[in-house]
Symmetry: C2
Subunit: 233 residues, 2 copies
DNA sequence: ACAAAAGTGTTATGCGTACACCCATGA
DNA sequence: TCATGGGTGTACGCATAACACTTTTGT
């Protein structure tokens, strides 16, 4: 035997959970599915892996198609492959999450898909097992973000410490002591203070910071804890 | 369009990284591949996902076929799906790791496969991208075991604290202070002291312990740290 | 008696946390 | 001048980690 001829083929898909942060709370980007089955229902953005693509390539292509963005932080979450998860035929889906700067998205929005941002707590019913995928993605994000400073991928170039705090609060659904949080973050050397202040969101105004890319690249492969206790799960 | 007919099918495989611990160090179980291509070369145990199976089912079936064991701790690691990773045709592989009690294995060993245990540091060259899979598995194990007490899955029912310490040392390739480690573990309430001692491995003898299943089931979904610092990567 | 491994006691240090307090500013 | 959110100072406690020391037993 020199081939796997007797083995049953499957279709390989990719689905993306796209996280964005608008200063209010964490959101995910969903589309209205444009084809049967389950046409016009809310769904994750997805597509099929092509012969020349790895699943990673495929995920990047799909993300670009919807958001226009490239070089986005993406991470493989899991494979969903129950025999009957798709009603049509056997489709196994590799699921990724992406962290994007929501502002960059807004300028490039593709109207080919009826895409909308949903707060994490108001995700509608989705097709197939997509709700389950979202749950797993949320869990993975929590897990990972507790150890690595990946949530900065969600922020614009300039951001304030209260904003980051809000972001962490949103990811973990907790309340942080902003005072301690601020110190912890500053002492990490991960962010650099700018001259400018954000005066929109408070009377006193909060200083803008930018990422210290040197330290960031180092710590993204290491880990650190900005969070009190361990509010994962 | 009510079907995905134009989409290219792929073959879906599963590969298992089987970890075992023999009191010396962490090992992985490899087989000599029994069919072409790459016949007679060292390989992970694997197989194809059947029409009625989820990838999880498939992984459990494959593990049982090699080791005779069921109800084993398994975890999905990642999907490997580069277009040309298999030389024969397009095969996408879902990779799992399994943690087994090596003693249970030894009684049920299947001789259909030429299987051998290899110390983590002496893994031979494997077919395709299997070496890469092993590396990812090691990393995931470290990551997870730093937060959850999963390594106990590798131990027999009775074990000593020095054994567990050795196991952690083996997983992380570090030296632990056995004195502090012992206290930390005891104070977690995770293990219960037995009357009996292991007198084989030392003059004084070390007390045997068993898992406190109540606490274990609770903590396996939570997390705790037995390790000083954070020796992940 | 000695070596070797198991295990206990003790202590310095630092981190996490709580919270009092000060600062800047718009209304 | 008061309310609001941003930010600093400080103090307490507990977990960590370092390491001196005791215990047990085979040789």
């Amino acid at each position: 035997m020199t081939s796997y001829k007797t083995e049953p083929p499957v279709l390989l898909a990719v689905d993306c959970i796209i996280f964005g942060f608008d200063g209010e709370g964490l959101k995910i980007l969903l589309i209205k599915r444009g084809f049967e089955p389950e046409r016009h229902k809310w769904s994750l953005m997805g597509g099929f892996v092509q012969p020349t693509e790895s699943p990673e390539d495929s995920a990047a292509r799909i993300l670009k198609k919807l958001t226009g963005l490239t070089d986005v932080y993406m991470e493989q979450i899991a494979v969903f492959g129950k025999p009957d998860r798709d009603t049509e035929q056997r489709v196994v889906s590799v699921v990724y999450f992406a962290l994007i700067d929501i502002n960059k998205y807004e300028h490039v929005i593709s109207h080919d898909y009826r895409a909308e941002w949903f707060p994490l707590k108001e995700v509608p019913q989705l097709i197939f097992d997509h709700n389950e995928m979202v749950e797993v993605a949320k869990k993975k994000l929590k897990y990972k973000a507790a150890l690595y400073p990946i949530v900065f991928e969600l922020l614009p170039e300039k951001f304030t410490i209260p904003q980051i705090a809000l972001l962490y609060e949103s990811v973990y659904d907790i309340d942080l002591d902003r005072r301690n949080f601020s110190r912890k973050l500053l002492s990490s050397g991960l962010i650099i203070k700018l001259k400018e202040k954000d005066t929109e969101n408070s009377k006193k105004g909060a200083f803008y910071f930018k990422i210290n890319t040197e330290v960031y690249k180092e710590k993204i492969m290491s880990f650190l804890r900005f969070l009190p206790g361990w509010p994962i799960d």
